[in-house]
């Protein structure tokens, strides 16, 4: 079960938007930005952690799902992962890469693969989205954005 949501007041004070692959990681915006906060509101963006090769930015969404963004030292998100009771807004998380994801999932359903887990594997984008009602998990990354020396499988463990 998901942990109880304790930080509702924090969400009102700071509702960071989800960041997308290829963009800067999430930061808490000034409270004046609240009116444009996305519907998938985040409870809190935790301090960044990581190694000298990349940083990790955990983001607890108010719907109970935990999103992790992984950024290069230059501040570009090269991978995201999620785990929780509902899916995060993948159109926001994947950003410019979302179109490719949508195209492949549409094709998979047309070919008879309905209701099943998603694997997208191409040169620009890798997506794994799995789970079922109440329990989802997945990750996405852009291979061309992975910093030199980083093993993506270690990052996503």
């Amino acid at each position: 079960m998901m942990a109880p949501l304790l930080g509702l007041s924090l969400a009102i004070a700071a509702a960071p938007a989800l960041a997308a692959l290829g963009q800067a990681p999430s930061v808490a915006p000034p409270s004046s930005a609240l009116s444009s906060a996305p519907a998938a509101r985040a409870l809190a963006a935790s301090p960044a952690a990581g190694t000298s090769l990349y940083t990790s930015h955990p983001l607890q969404l108010e719907n109970g799902t935990l999103v992790q963004e992984y950024a290069t030292p230059a501040g570009l998100v090269f991978a995201v992962s999620w785990r929780g009771p509902v899916l995060p807004d993948l159109s926001l998380l994947l950003g410019e890469f979302f179109g490719g994801y949508k195209l492949e999932t549409d094709q998979a359903r047309a070919l008879g693969k309905r209701g099943s887990i998603v694997n997208v594997v191409n040169r620009k984008l890798i997506v794994r989205s799995t789970g079922r009602m109440r329990s989802f998990a997945g990750y996405a990354y852009a291979p061309e954005l992975i910093p030199a020396g980083v093993n993506i499988h270690d990052v996503l463990q």
């Binding site: 079960m1 108010e62 509902v86 899916l87 070919l111 693969k113 209701g115 099943s116 998603v118």
Partner: protein, 396 residues
């Protein structure tokens, strides 16, 4: 028994004719299920399990039978396309905190979602009735589009053509589709209410357990502790259709005795462990809504052609695995994987016992509908006692 009940219910103006011929003697706790090509105009469907569902306006004899509702043990709740539900049925809507319609969102991992109002109906499956049950009317044209937090950029399920069914009957291990998370949190991602009387837009809202979409089984007066899915093995490596029974109750009638079934209890989130070679996959589950065996093989090649997301071995490849419950009990399972491209070459076939594909997640094995072929699989609902124990559990 089935025919008597249907006529007593007014007969309804079904969306189409029943998919299977009437069974002469059907026990009141069983209903026919079938794997076939789905409702008319529903595209290419393989390994999809369907049932007829009858809904009635509460406290009335005004009813409708809807064919080709997908049987999905990976979700909870009855969701019907609003386009197949007769408007004159006039099902009453539930309301959210401000007295405006309560709206349900459900997301699926294939980048689709279903969106629509929650209404009350008496739901009849064979001879069993779940009275006054909240169900979802999917793609109701009087409700505005889903908010971004529901749609998440995915494709809305709005027609039989893109759903591949007239609705979804979620018969998972739990009683509600969301549970306490949605009762306690406004921005829960599953329940919304209209922002204004026009229902052009919506906002997140808490939904009590009573308001949430439900597994109908615990609402039955009897035979309410779980389900048994009983499907025969196809006679060959492919078939046009496959018919079986969905039986309610575990150990409550002569037709649902567990016999020598081994009970595999699950984690609180409904998972057990699959051992495959040296791999241990702790997030494993059974799911009639998945149309193949999905797992990461270290040796079977994925299809390179248009059969995206499936395996295409050059020869029939046997696989052996062991399923381990949270209670430590084990059950060995063997199956075979065949070339998906060859299977899909004959579009007249919808039953493929050897269809499999990669999972993309080394911690998970999704035992889809082919697992159920040739087995009697029992599922105990959370909190419901039976002679096999208290759910959630699987047994086979």
């Amino acid at each position: 028994m089935l025919a008597v009940l249907l006529s007593a219910c007014g007969g309804g103006g079904g969306a189409a004719t029943p998919s299977t011929p009437p069974v002469a003697v059907t026990p009141s706790n069983a209903v026919s299920i079938v794997v076939d090509s789905g409702p008319a105009g529903a595209g290419y469907n393989v390994n999809r399990l369907y049932v007829d569902v009858t809904i009635c306006r509460t406290v009335s004899n005004d009813c409708q039978t809807i064919d080709h509702v997908l049987v999905d043990t990976g979700s909870i709740g009855l969701r019907l396309l609003s386009s197949v539900v007769r408007p004159t049925l006039n099902l009453s809507r539930l309301t959210g905190s401000a007295g405006l319609p309560l709206l349900s969102c459900v997301q699926f991992v294939d980048n689709t979602f279903a969106w629509g109002p929650v209404v009350l109906a008496d739901v009849m499956l064979g001879g069993k009735t779940a009275s006054n049950m909240p169900i979802q009317l999917v793609a109701d044209p009087t409700i505005g589009n889903a908010p971004a937090s529901c749609a998440i950029g995915g494709t809305a399920m709005t027609t039989a053509a893109n759903l591949g069914a007239n609705g979804i009957l979620g018969l998972g291990l739990f009683k509600e589709d969301c549970g306490t998370d949605c009762a306690g949190s406004t921005h829960n991602g599953s329940y919304y209410t209209c922002s204004s009387a026009s229902c052009a837009s919506s906002v997140g809202v808490k939904a009590s357990l009573a308001q949430q979409l439900k597994n109908p089984v615990p609402l039955f007066a009897t035979d309410n502790n779980g389900v048994l899915i009983d499907l025969p093995a196809p006679a060959s490596s492919s078939a046009t259709t496959l018919a079986g029974s969905l039986i309610f109750g575990i150990g409550t009638q002569a037709n649902n005795q567990p016999g020598s079934a081994v009970v595999l209890t699950t984690s609180a989130t409904g998972y057990f462990t699959t051992l495959l070679g040296t791999q241990s996959m702790s997030n494993s589950f059974l799911d009639t809504g998945s149309n193949g065996f999905f797992f990461d093989s270290r040796s079977i090649p994925a299809c390179l052609d248009s059969s995206l997301g499936f395996y295409c071995p050059s020869t029939l490849t046997p696989v052996s695995a062991t399923l381990v419950g949270a209670n430590g009990l084990r059950r060995a399972v063997s199956f075979s994987v065949a070339d998906a491209s060859t299977m899909f070459g004959d579009a007249s076939k919808t039953v493929f016992p050897n269809l499999a594909g990669p999972m993309g997640d080394a911690s998970s094995f999704d035992w889809g509908l082919p697992f159920y072929y040739g087995r009697r699989v029992l599922m105990g609902v959370e909190g419901q006692p039976s002679n096999l124990g208290i759910g959630p559990y699987y047994a086979f």
